[in-house]
């Protein structure tokens, strides 16, 4: 056999094994690296060969992701020249996006929430969208709901295009009101009345919360009612700001409830059902501020509950019928391969040239950033199904609504404001101290 091997120039089997042992892992490693570097393009075989392929990243998961995928499918069917592929990046999506931008291979579209957009814009990680507002899209920005547009605008340019927005009302549990000796058909119309009514609903025994009345959800949520403007001349201004102080003092008035027990109670109930529920949904809270999706949650978790929803009550001298506006914004990263086609998809998603936009918005329980979508029969039908939904739309269209302004240090502001509210509610600081500390922190925060 050895002689035959010599004649036929077969290598030694041991050496073959050795070479294979070295070459196979090397080949595999090379394949992985090539794939990672994009030499092997996943999904390139799908759709029309001549179509432009767009990569769309979203942080949504579960049924929300299914909704987005349906959107992409509908778009692909009506736009044969463009094919959108959806990729879910649920954990640390922002970091993955930035890494992709830095590597020169970003997606074409990314759905983002407000606070980060300013940071991205300041760092030239995303492109302004005003350049696309021409031709058939000439009114695409000017027609937007002003509060929705404000959440995507940084230094006068629109960087995030609002596709689906949130509006909030005060929900009240009629059963708990009745049990507390309140008239369930006479919900509070002022914040002072709300504070007085909700106080009768708390049940704390042995240091453990059994039932809550109302609890301030966040600073931004009530900022519209207090007519707070957190920015002046492009900088955060929290001190020497009477409205901000009035709101923080209102929040401080709830520090009489044990912060740790309340927080533990509400967070535990929040995490039931994968984080899609809260204490109100399961009949353990008398009043809460929530969006239209609460209706679905209540029907699912406590269908026997009798409830109502009214515009967020105003303080004396404040704004009535206002809401905080936030939501989902599409951004186009710097270096995106097909920005023009990406814009076509973004505009379509928000409702421009899209007769089925209402289907997307009503499934998610959202307000339309493009006002004309509200006139679509599907959206009107959804509003009429539960009349209180009209109230959400009405609040959403109030020009005095509050939107967190974009700033290069918006993410830091968001975190620091959360800490300030926490400090006030846990009696670590009073309202003045918390705002002063917040101002000091945010002044030091570099962009």
């Amino acid at each position: 056999m050895n002689a035959l091997r010599t004649v036929m120039k077969w290598p030694n089997p041991g050496r073959i094994r050795l070479r294979l042992a070295v070459l196979v892992p090397a080949a595999l490693a090379m394949t992985v690296m090539l794939a990672a570097c994009g030499a092997i393009s996943p999904g390139s075989s799908s759709g029309s060969a001549s179509a432009v392929h767009l990569e769309y990243w979203t942080m949504w998961t579960g049924r929300w992701l299914a909704l987005i995928q349906q959107e992409a499918t509908d778009f692909n069917e009506t736009h044969p020249g463009i094919q959108v592929s959806v990729l879910s990046v649920p954990q640390n999506g922002d970091q993955k996006l930035l890494t992709a931008i830095a590597a020169g291979q970003p997606p074409d579209i990314f759905t983002e929430w407000n606070p980060t957009i300013g940071t991205f814009a300041q760092n030239n990680a995303i492109i302004p969208l005003n350049q696309f507002a021409t031709g058939q899209y000439k009114n695409a920005i000017s027609d937007l709901n002003p509060s929705a547009a404000a959440g995507g605008t940084y230094k006068g340019k629109l960087y995030g295009y609002p596709i689906s927005m949130n509006s909030y009302l005060l929900y009240y549990n009629k059963d708990l009101m009745k049990a507390a000796g309140l008239n369930p058909n006479d919900p509070p119309e002022t914040l002072a009345q709300l504070t007085a009514d909700q106080a009768k609903e708390w049940n704390i025994s042995g240091g453990r919360v059994q039932q809550m009345g109302f609890y301030p959800p966040s600073f931004s949520m009530l900022a519209g009612a207090f007519n707070v403007h957190v920015m002046k001349s492009g900088n955060y201004q929290l001190t020497n700001n009477p409205q901000a102080l009035a709101e923080m003092k209102f929040i401080q008035s709830y520090s009489k409830y044990p912060y740790s027990a309340v927080n533990g109670f509400s967070e535990a109930l929040d995490s039931v059902g994968g984080g899609s529920s809260d204490a109100f949904d399961v009949g353990k809270q008398g009043f809460t501020i929530g969006g239209p999706w609460e209706i679905t949650q209540i029907e699912s978790l406590d269908p026997a509950m009798h409830w109502g929803a009214i515009p967020i009550p105003a303080p004396a001298g404040g704004n009535s019928d206002v809401t905080m506006v936030n939501g989902n914004y599409d951004i186009i990263p710097k270096g995106a391969a097909h920005p023009e086609q990406a814009w076509t998809f973004v505009a379509w998603m928000a409702g421009i040239n899209n007769a089925k936009a209402s289907q997307f918005l009503t499934t998610g329980g959202w307000m339309p950033a493009v006002p004309s979508v509200a006139e679509q029969p599907g959206y009107q039908q959804w509003l009429n199904q539960v009349p209180v939904r009209h109230e959400f739309l009405q609040a959403f269209n109030n020009p005095k609504d509050y939107t967190d302004p974009l700033a290069c240090n918006g993410e830091q502001y968001s975190t620091d404001m959360g800490n300030a509210v926490e400090a006030v509610l846990s009696n670590t600081m009073n309202a003045e101290q918390a705002l002063a500390s917040l101002q000091s922190n945010i002044d030091k925060a570099t962009c």
Binding site: G207, Y259, A261, G264, F265, E267, S271, N409, E411, N441
Partner: protein
């Protein structure tokens, strides 16, 4: 008669090469070396790309303003200077030292105590050892979520049990006073690894020493103090150093369970570093923090080694 005198450092001709010198290797040795390097090349490439390069690059970035997307710009020592004026930086240092100073000694004492029990010759010992080690193999994130529920002030089992005993349970993770002690208590859940190492150390102590001490009338406590602890001291030093390093890098549980709250009472150093790097994109600032952490850990480790000469007994 000819005498060959090799100059200092030269090798005499004809003498076999010293092992390990590539220039004098045989073909077989060179081939083996090449194959060996090829086999470990994935690790070498990984080490260079994912450890050595970032390590060196972070030193450079610590002197820059850098946000991943734009090019870094040199700003000298500004990041380091700003850090010393950042109250949350000091708070994170305080939180981390608080955790380390209590958790490391506590877990050392508890782990040694459990290892001593698991070293007894009793029936079913293998089962007990397995039970105590089991929590260590549960992923940190999964056990963290579990503990959030156990420690919940309103619905948690722990406060339920305390209430049965007539004790009003604290707010645990939701209380600024209790949040760090809660995480320290929870840290005891994962001491299975050190227990196994202590157990191995205990089994390496010769039985004759205990027998001789017993003959001399030494009590059990005296045997532990005079025999077990001194002979176990190298293992204790090893575990203490590892414990200090991991405490200073404490991240996962705080990230999952508290996100630094309430009121920044669990904003540990690594968590704040992460926030600066990946939430606010202050990569230069975060790099400076990483290097300060490196220096802190290095100094403490050197101090521990220095002090170890006084109490560690290497036989």
């Amino acid at each position: 008669m000819s005498v060959s005198i090799a100059a200092k450092g030269e090798k005499e001709p004809g003498r076999p090469a010293a092992p390990g010198l590539p220039g004098r290797m045989s073909r077989l040795e060179r081939r083996n070396l090449r194959n060996g390097l090829l086999f470990i090349s994935p690790w070498i490439v990984g080490f260079l790309a994912f450890t050595a390069y970032p390590f060196i690059a972070s030193l450079f970035f610590s002197f820059t303003k850098y946000n991943i997307v734009s090019s870094p710009s040199l700003i000298g020592l500004s990041n380091y200077i700003n850090l010393f004026h950042d109250p949350l930086f000091w708070k994170s240092i305080y939180n981390t030292f608080y955790y380390t100073v209590i958790e490391v000694p506590l877990s050392t004492v508890v782990a040694i105590a459990i290892a001593l029990l698991l070293n007894l010759k009793i029936r079913g010992q293998a089962i007990y050892r397995t039970i105590f080690y089991l929590p260590s193999i549960v992923p940190a994130v999964a056990s963290s979520v579990l503990w959030v529920w156990l420690f919940d002030p309103s619905f948690g089992v722990i406060n339920d049990v305390l209430a049965q005993l007539g004790i009003k349970g604290p707010g645990w993770l939701f209380s600024t006073l209790w949040s760090k002690p809660t995480l320290i208590l929870m840290g005891l859940w994962g001491i299975g690894g050190p227990i196994v190492i202590y157990l191995a150390g205990l089994q390496g102590i010769p039985n004759e020493l205990y027998e001789a001490a017993a003959v001399d009338g030494a009590s059990a406590w005296r045997r532990i103090r005079r025999i077990t602890i001194p002979l176990l001291s190298p293992v204790i030093l090893f575990n203490v150093i590892l414990g200090v390093i991991s405490s200073f890098q404490y991240f996962t549980q705080a990230y999952v369970m508290t996100s630094g709250g309430p009121d920044n009472s669990t904003e540990f150093y690594s968590l704040y570093l992460y926030d600066q790097a990946f939430e606010y994109l202050h990569m230069g600032y975060a790099s400076a923090m990483a290097w300060i952490l490196f220096v802190i850990i290095l100094v403490i480790t050197l101090v521990l080694f220095k002090l170890s000469k006084r109490w560690v007994f290497y036989g």
